[in-house]
Structure formats: structure tokens, C-alpha cells
């Protein structure tokens, strides 16, 4: 098992190096003078310009610059925001929990609804329920989620007035940041109504962000279930005289879930992309919205950091999924 993990780890390293190269190159590929780009001002005084070049090490050869960039990264230094003049890392750390909270809720929503729905659809193949699940998931899969977000706001917030339109919590609450997850922090704060407010703010973004993963998970679970039910070992299990529920739960489910795990892992990528849209619609103060805002403000160090961090999350999550895959699937673990 340990060597299996090491092997997996080794395969990600080149990818990670590639990502740092891309992030490093990003700022240098933007048309224009790097100092002007970084400082965000045009027509700098030549003396200041040279000084800045030297201060930032931009007069050095590229590979030296790159090593310096990686060294800074290793120390957790992601640069300075051009707009706020704050360290990017600091901003990131305050915004990151919001995105994680939203993403976790969305994934939970997708898994908790999509898995059982796909499973039952597979077991009751051809039934009305099956057709319903397939129709809904196909629609979900085709959904422009930014529009879906607007429609939900239009109906639930504007027409019915049930849910708030944007943000993470009503402004009357001033919740001390402990975990960064407002759901937990508001609970801990003990302020009356704070938790409810945080939860209400989460509902619509969760649904919107969870829609596509839900559709993908439901479809995948169904087809994986159908495939497994055709396997010889299911016949064996039935020939043993096991009850149908035991056949499904013990023998079919575990094998059916193996490919679904990979798919869930891949959904983390779509969650990161979806977060950009969802956070923009709901003014959710997370890294997705931060990234989009920074592009329009030409705050390049932030964009660079955002790209790097998103890719890193994606790589780490998929590494984790790969390892998990090995844990549940004995055939993979021992394969060379």
C-alpha cells in the first residue's frame, strides 16, 4: 500500500512542476512590459523602472527568476496584489474557506442525491423512475449553470422571497472567523438566527454548483450498476441463495462504486470551474469570484496565484482519489 502511494505521488510531480511553469509564464506572456503589468502603471520613469526590475529580479536570466519564484512559493509567498497591496496569500486564506464550504456542500448534495438516484434507476431499469432520473440528469448535464442560478434567484428569492439573493450571511451578523466555514462559525457563535441565515444563503449556490456533478454522478452510477448486475459474480451471489438486498448491497454496490469514485474525483475539477460562475452570480466571497474580479482589474499576481492554487487543488484531490481507488479496488493496488 505504501509503495502504491509513493508510485502515485511520483506521477504527479512532473504535472505539478508543469503547473508552476505555466503560472510563472503567465505573467511574462501578457503583452506589455512586465514591470508595467505588475505595477499596473504605464510609462514609468526609466530610473524607477530599472530599479524595479532589479528589485524584482527581472533583470536576471529566466531560469534564475523561475527558481526564485518556486522558492517563494515554497515559503507560501504568492506575491502582492496590485490592487490592495496586500500579500496574495493573506487574501487567499480569508477567501478560500468560503469556496471550500460551498464546494463541499455542493459535492455532498450531488453525491447524496445522485448516487441513490442512479442506483435505483439502474436497479429498476426501464421503469418510470429510471426514465425520470435519466431525463433530469441529461437536462442537468446540459444546464448553463449561470442561467440556472439566475432562474433560481428569480423564483425562490424574488417571487417567493424564501432565500436571500447573495452573500454568505445577513450583514447584521458579525461572526468571528474560527474555522472560516460560516456554517460552523455561526453555529459556534451562538448568535440567534446566524446559523439559519448562513444555511439559507448556502442553499441556492449549493444547488447550482451541485447540478452538473449530480447529473454526472447519477448517470455514471446507473450505468455502472447496470454493468455490474450483468457480471458473473452477481449470478454466483444469487446462486448462493442470498437475499436480493444482500446481493445488491454487498456484491453489486461495492463494485459499482469503484468507477463512480473516479468520476466524483473528476467532478472536483468541474466544481472549481463552476465555483467561478456560481460565486459570481451569488456574490459569494470565494476564490472564484476573486479570480474573475482580478482579471477585470488586471490584478495579475492574483490571477497567477488563483490558477496555481486551483490546479494544485485539482491535482491533490485527484491524487487522493487515485489512492482511494486503490484502497477499494484490490486489483489496482497490486498492479504494477
Amino acid at each position: 500500500m505504501f509503495s502504491f502511494i509513493l508510485r502515485k505521488l511520483a506521477t504527479v510531480i512532473p504535472t505539478f512542476i508543469g503547473i508552476t511553469l505555466v503560472a510563472f509564464a503567465l505573467i511574462r506572456m501578457i503583452p506589455g512590459d512586465p514591470i508595467e503589468v505588475m505595477v499596473g502603471e504605464r510609462k514609468l520613469d526609466p530610473v524607477m523602472h530599472a530599479a524595479a526590475m532589479q528589485r524584482l529580479g527581472l533583470d536576471q536570466p529566466l531560469h534564475i527568476q523561475y527558481f526564485r519564484y518556486v522558492k517563494d512559493l515554497a515559503q507560501g509567498d504568492l506575491g502582492i496584489s496590485l490592487v490592495t497591496r496586500e500579500p496574495v496569500t493573506k487574501e487567499f486564506l480569508t477567501l478560500f474557506p468560503a469556496t471550500v464550504e460551498l464546494a463541499i456542500c455542493a459535492l455532498l448534495f450531488a453525491v447524496l442525491v445522485g448516487l441513490p438516484a442512479g442506483m435505483i434507476a439502474g436497479l429498476k431499469r426501464g421503469s418510470v423512475f429510471d426514465h425520470g432520473v435519466m431525463g433530469v440528469s441529461m437536462t442537468g448535464f446540459s444546464m448553463p449553470i449561470f442561467w440556472w442560478g439566475l432562474i433560481l434567484i428569480m423564483y425562490f428569492s424574488v417571487t417567493l422571497g424564501w432565500t436571500p439573493v447573495s452573500g454568505r450571511i445577513d450583514i447584521e451578523f458579525d461572526i468571528a472567523q474560527r474555522t472560516g466555514f460560516l456554517l460552523i462559525d455561526s453555529w459556534l457563535s451562538g448568535e440567534e438566527g446566524a446559523f439559519k441565515s448562513a444555511a439559507m444563503h448556502l442553499i441556492l449556490p449549493t444547488i447550482v454548483l451541485g447540478t452538473i456533478p449530480l447529473a454526472v454522478i447519477a448517470r455514471m452510477t446507473r450505468s455502472s450498476m447496470l454493468e455490474v448486475l450483468r457480471e458473473d459474480y452477481i449470478r454466483t451471489a444469487r446462486a448462493k441463495g442470498l437475499a436480493p438486498t444482500r446481493v445488491v448491497v454487498v456484491h453489486a454496490l461495492r463494485n459499482a462504486l469503484i468507477p463512480v469514485i473516479t468520476v466524483i474525483g473528476l467532478q472536483v475539477g468541474s466544481l472549481l470551474g463552476g465555483a467561478v460562475l456560481t460565486e459570481t452570480i451569488y456574490s459569494w466571497p470565494g476564490i472564484g469570484k476573486w479570480l474573475v474580479d482580478s482579471i477585470s482589474r488586471r490584478d495579475y499576481p492574483v490571477v497567477q496565484a488563483g490558477i496555481l492554487v486551483s490546479a494544485t487543488i485539482f491535482i491533490v484531490v485527484n491524487l487522493f482519489v487515485d489512492i482511494l481507488y486503490g484502497v477499494v479496488n484490490p486489483r489496482i493496488r497490486s498492479a504494477k
Binding site: G18, S142, P144, L150, V276, V292, A311, I315
Partner: protein, 301 residues
Amino acid sequence: MTTQVQIADVVPSYPSPLKEFWQSFSHNKGAVVALFIFLSVIFCGVFAGWIAPHDPVEQYRDHMLTPPSWAGGGMSTYLLGTDELGRDILSRLIHGARISLFIAFMSVLMSLIPGMVLGLLAAFFPKGAGTVIMRVMDVMLALPGILLAICIITILGPGLINTMIAIAIGTLPSYTRLTRAAAMAEINKEYVTASRVAGAGALRLMFLTVLPNCMAPIIVNATLGFSSAILETAALGFLGLGVQPPTPEWGTMLSAARDYIERAPWVVTMPGVTILVTVLSINLMGDGLRDALDPKLKRAA
């Protein structure tokens, strides 16, 4: 019983591949309906100039935010109503079809062709070129869809052509991987060895011998790529990073419409429904296509 015997007596005749394909495809009712919807979207896109009742950018300042014709206060000239600047929504949607389909088509082409070439190279030269290509693809895959597009738009700036490029680069890894996997499966088969022995050059082997046998999964993937390109174009437009106003792009239309959720819901509803229906029809078609092209999955799913 009698029919069974009759069938047995008939000399088997083999339908042409195209006919067989259509038989298989038309088996799936949803896919056929989807095909017709999609054909009408294409029709609208191609003949937008003739079909659209109004100029898509003309602003009828006297009729701003007119509701759809069936709603109270609607006007029959503006079938689906007008937007905040008094432009006819229906005409904008029809012209938008042209833009979305064009971007989607070009971006699929721009990633499909290089993707196939890279995939074949990776399959034929697994040691040198292959390793490098696949490593680069891994890096690109680590930046999920829209983030990679954002990354590219940051460098290139927003706009129609750049949207196309961004989407094309984003989907390149999937075609490369798919082609490589399909080609690797074919490469050791006897017919390839036979033509290698017969003296076929690497190029000939790659493009004439192996590639045609890898097309089925690639075509299916291209269909899905087409629909996700439409979604991504709209998403970028919505974020203000894609096609710029006043060009009538579906996502860009939505981005401006956000402020009118309360006053003019149709401005929000129409473009979204159009995107959803178009994408849904392509995906349904893709499902039908997959079942019809992949003999292994035939009638199984």
C-alpha cells in the same frame, strides 16, 4: 411461428453501413427529435439574416423592455419581447445561434485536428514524443475547463477569436488522450502489422491505416465537445470574458440581463432556454450517436 420460418428462408442481405447506422440511430426516439431540433438551430444560424425579423443590434428606444407578445403589454412585432436597450430578443437569439455554432464548430475543429495528430504521435512514438506530449496534456488537464480558458483569455484578451482559441486549447487534451488510447488499441492488430510489413510509411500507417479505425469514439467525443463548447462560450460571455457586446451572443445577453431579473424576467429566461435546448439536443444526439456507432454498447444501454 410462420414468420420465424419466413425470416429463416430469406437470404440475408447486408444493409449499407450508412443505412445500418440510421436504423440503429432512429431506434432512439429522443435522438431523432434532438436531431431535428439541432438541425433547426443550424438552419436559424445559417439563414439568420433572412429569418430574423429585426436587426439584432438595432435599438428601438421607444420599446425598451417590451414583454413577449403573449404577455400583457406585449407587441406582436417583438415576439419574445425586447431587452433593456429595446433590441428584439428573438432576432438576437437567432443571430446568436450563428455565433455560438460558429465558435463551437471552429473550436472543435481547432482542437480535434491537432488532438488527433498529437494522439497518433504519442501512440506511434511512445518513448520520446509520446512521453512529452502526454506530460504536457496532464498539465493542461490539471486546469479544469473554464479556468484554463480564463488563463488564456488573460493573456490574449477577450473576444470572439480568443474565445475560440481558449476553448480549443482547453479540450485539446481529451482528444489527444482519446486518440492515443484508441490508436494504441489498434496498433498491434494484424492489419496494421500487415501494412507495416507491406512497406507503408509511418504517416500512411498513422492517418490511413490506424486513424479511420479510431474514429467512432472520437466522433462521439466531438459531439460532446460541441455542446460543451457552446456552454463554455456562453459562460465566458456571461463573465464578460468572451464575445463582447453588442454582438448578440447568448451568454453575453444573459450577463447584461442580470439587472432585470425583477422587472423583465423574459430577458433572462429566453437566452437561457435557448442555450439549454440547444445543448440538450446535441447531448441527446450524442447519446444516440454513441449507441449507433459503438457495436459493443449496442442495445445494451
